[in-house]
């Protein structure tokens, strides 16, 4: 997993709960990296799982909620680091369309080793989009946070529903409907 996810995650924890909590979840985990992360590096996904699960335990918040919040948080980072990805789209649907067809392609060019989820988008109508998330990481809650923030960014009034296509969460269908 790309280092930026770790550094951003730990930044968010520090911002919300102070560095003690950061130190706690690092110390409580058995981390190969020793909790040392740089945004340009690459680290095992299992470390992220440990960090999230320790945070959940510590602050007594469910993991899905944590991931959702993290998704929303990371959106801002993306927005400030890669504004070009957002400027080239005029609305939320075309931005969501562009994740698979453009953004992830560009990311792959920059980081050969990046392992990215798939976002298969289908426009059901003018006002409705189906977005299927597929990833062995099963982080659809994290994706949901990103989707929500994206739609708000383009100032849409909308509803979002979610359906597990695979019970283990590796395949999830989002239905976004404009009001």
């Amino acid at each position: 997993m790309k280092g930026i996810v770790f550094t951003e995650f730990l930044d968010m924890v520090e911002q919300e709960f102070g560095y003690e909590t950061v130190d706690h979840i690092i110390e409580a985990s058995k981390l190969e990296s020793g909790g040392v992360y740089t945004s340009v590096g690459t680290y095992p996904f299992s470390e992220m799982l440990q960090l999230v699960s320790n945070l959940s335990e510590k602050i007594e918040v469910e993991i899905p909620s944590l991931l959702y919040a993290f998704g929303k948080y990371l959106f801002n980072t993306f927005l400030s680091s890669y504004p070009a990805f957002f400027n080239r789209c005029e609305d939320g649907f075309s931005f969501l369309d562009s994740i698979d067809s453009y953004i992830h392609i560009e990311v792959k060019k920059l980081y050969h080793d990046a392992e990215l989820p798939a976002f298969q988008s289908t426009r059901l109508s003018e006002s409705q989009m189906e977005l299927i998330y597929r990833s062995s990481r099963k982080m659809s809650d994290f994706a949901e946070g990103l989707i929500d923030k994206s739609m708000s960014y383009y100032k849409h009034d909308y509803t979002l529903s979610k359906e597990l296509l695979n019970p283990d969460g590796s395949e999830v269908k989002f239905l976004i409907t404009l009001k």
Partner: protein
């Protein structure tokens, strides 16, 4: 307050993270550097490649430019409006302008050709075009060029202009002009020669005709042995001169390419039979059989040139007859191949004459050459006949073949491919001995139109001898006047006459006289086929070439005066199957009225005899006019019913006017009606007997 341990750990982590990041970045920087190096190498390699490619391109362009320059081709590149964008040195030299002067000039101002607009339109199409036109040079002179145009496209395949390749053709044009002038001169000379020959032909033929004609007349007077011999020599000499003249004229025509094939649909069997007849007459004096065989597959008329074919066959037959003292001359037409409308016919002329050796065979088709020098002495002739025949056959798409054995005879043959029409051949007319037919000229009236007094005497003496009644007109106008007053069975018409020529007279007779249907025969001194064709076009049906012998004239008289009657009779007989009415009766009407129902005809004839004589006996000049009127009213339709059409007409016309004419006229007309009736009634009586026998 945060625990110092925690802070220590944070610091530691951040330091480590920084170091980690630095080492990653270091590594990345190195990768970047190496990638950059690689890129630089690629770039250099690419530049070398581009360099060598452009050099090759430049060399190739230079090569083609040099070729163009050496080929002296002027190049001009124009936009869609014709404005010049680029020119080469050759083009600049061609026009006399410099490159700068030419730039942005419109090419339309540089050509002396109003049609160039359309040529420019043509250039717009994708296909390459080439045209010949004149360039206007800077100094105002013209230069002939051949321009080939090609479209120019830009990168997006859009037509943006054209390139014109100019080739200087002024030398060719000069040559072309000189050639055309030379050709025209040659044609004029040839035409003058033709005219001279045509005039000479007429001038020579007229006195020759007199010599031949008068000799024939002289022949029928009382001559002693010596005189007859001299006369014979005169005739032979004149005949030779005549054939020499027509052969020379034919040769000059063929050489000038003036002999053209005129296709017509005609009955080949008739042509062949006529040829046979002609030679039967000639062969009478020798122990020579003239045989004709015609393939029964030739059932329909063919499409070819009857005049040319006739000339060739006459030539071959004439040779065969000339060189065969005894035995036979066999003319045959055999179908080699018949497919739908096409037919290949092989013509053979086979004789049992003197034949030829191998060496002689090689010479006979050359002009003025005969098999040997002795021939013209012994047999006469010009040696042109076979040459003419060969040339004519070439025109007809055929060639002549010959096989010959010295002392045994020769066989000339050729094959002719013709189209077959859907017209069936005419049935052969009964063969006639012309001598026996003298009597049948009786009652026929012929008009002779001839301005030459010698020819007049010649023809009129022959006609007197043959008991043909005739009128003589000395020019076309006189002929027309005769034709407006009297009706003729046949008209002879000279072509060249003062006041009104033969063709004009023919056209007028055909439209302005009572002889519109009378056959008109051209008498012509011209052997030119075109003259003959013109004569036929003007409405004449046949022609006799002057000079002619009595036999020729007689043949025409037979064909148009005698055979016509026979043909009519044959026709009537065919219709009536085996019964023929008396020819004095209106046979056409009777056939139409009764057809093959001769019983009805008989019945009507019998009724006529039972009733009409009684009525006619009451017709009298002493009667009241009204009585006669009623009698005529009753009988005139009855006359018609038994084929007495003339009598019926006489009766009816008197009936129509009887109230309005003086009694003396009535008397005369009744007299003539009764006179005719008494003759006609005898015919009716004999017809009844004939019909009774036939019906029984």
């Amino acid at each position: 307050m945060i625990d110092t341990d925690i802070l220590q750990r944070k610091l530691d982590r951040e330091r480590k993270a920084r170091k980690q990041a630095e080492s990653i970045l270091e590594k990345k920087a190195l990768e970047l550097y190496q990638a950059n190096l690689e890129l630089k190498q690629f770039n250099e390699a690419l530049e070398i490649k581009v360099q060598s490619r452009s050099e090759a391109l430049f060399r190739s362009e230079k090569k083609y430019r040099e070729i163009m320059e050496n080929m002296r081709l002027g190049l001009v590149e124009i936009d869609l409006e014709g404005n010049i964008l680029k020119t080469n040195e050759v083009y600049q030299k061609m026009t006399g302008y410099s490159a700068e002067e030419l730039l942005h000039k419109n090419v339309k101002t540089l050509v002396n050709f109003t049609a160039f607009d359309s040529a420019l339109e043509d250039f717009k199409s994708l296909a390459q075009t080439s045209i010949e036109l004149e360039l206007i040079k800077k100094d105002g002179r013209f230069l002939w060029v051949l321009i080939s145009g090609a479209p120019i496209y830009n990168e997006s395949k859009k037509l943006v202009g054209r390139i014109g390749i100019h080739y200087d053709i002024s030398e060719q044009k000069k040559l072309e002009k000189a050639l055309i002038e030379a050709k025209e001169k040659a044609e004029q000379a040839q035409q003058a020669e033709q005219q001279f020959l045509a005039n000479m032909s007429h001038e020579i033929r007229t006195p020759l005709n007199a010599i031949i004609g008068m000799s024939h007349l002289l022949e029928s007077t009382k001559l002693d042995q010596e005189q007859q011999e001299y006369l014979h020599l005169i005739l032979n000499g004149a005949n030779l001169l005549q054939s020499l003249l027509s052969d020379i004229l034919d040769i000059s025509k063929i050489d000038a390419g003036k002999v053209t094939v005129v296709h017509d649909i005609f009955d080949l069997t008739e042509v062949l039979r006529r040829i046979k007849e002609t030679f039967l007459f000639k062969a009478r004096e020798k122990d020579l059989r003239i045989e004709l065989s015609i393939d029964p597959l030739i059932t329909h008329q063919i499409n070819s040139d009857p005049l040319l074919l006739n000339q060739v066959l006459m030539n071959l037959m004439s040779n065969a007859e000339k060189f065969t003292e005894s035995g036979s001359v066999h003319l045959s037409a055999k179908v080699l191949q018949k497919r739908e409308e096409k037919m290949t016919i092989q013509f053979l002329v086979q004789d049992t004459g003197i034949g030829m050796s191998e060496e002689q065979l090689n010479r006979i088709f050359k002009r003025f050459q005969q098999a040997n020098e002795l021939i013209s002495r012994d047999f006469g002739g010009t040696g042109l006949g076979l040459f003419i025949s060969k040339k004519i056959l070439q025109l007809l798409g055929s060639d002549i073949q010959v096989q010959s054995t010295l002392g045994k005879g020769s066989c000339f043959s050729f094959e002719l491919e013709t189209e077959v029409s859907n017209l069936p051949n005419k049935p052969p007319k009964g063969s006639q001995q012309s001598n026996a037919l003298v009597a049948t000229y009786k009652g026929k009236k012929v008009l002779i139109t001839e301005d030459n007094s010698m020819n007049q005497r010649y023809i009129t003496s022959l006609f007197k001898k043959w008991q043909v009644s005739f009128d003589l007109a000395t020019n076309g106008l006189e002929a027309l006047e005769y034709c407006q007053q009297k009706s003729y069975d046949l008209i002879f018409m000279d072509l060249q006459m003062p006041i009104m020529g033969g063709m004009e007279a023919t056209e007028k007779i055909k439209t302005q006289s009572i002889n519109q249907k009378t056959p008109i025969i051209a008498l012509t001194a011209s052997t030119f086929l075109s003259q003959k064709n013109k004569a036929l076009e003007s409405g004449m049906v046949d022609f006799i070439s002057k000079p002619f012998v009595p036999f020729h004239l007689k043949k025409v008289l037979d064909r148009y005066l005698v055979q016509e009657d026979l043909a009519l009779q044959t026709q009537a007989q065919a219709k009536l199957q085996s019964y023929s009415y008396h020819t004095e009766l209106d046979v056409d009407f009777l056939q139409e009225a009764y057809g093959n129902d001769f019983e009805s005809a008989l019945e009507l004839f019998e009724i006529f005899i039972e009733t009409v004589p009684e009525q006619m006996s009451r017709l009298s000049i002493q009667n009241e006019t009204s009585d006669n009127y009623h009698i005529l009213h009753k009988v005139h339709p009855t006359f018609k019913m038994v084929g007495l059409s003339d009598l019926s007409d006489m009766a009816k016309s008197l009936h129509d006017v009887i109230a309005d004419i003086p009694s003396i006229d009535i008397e005369n007309r009744i007299k003539s009606i009764l006179e005719k009736y008494h003759k006609d009634v005898l015919i009716i009586e004999s017809e009844i007997i004939k019909l009774r026998t036939y019906v029984a």
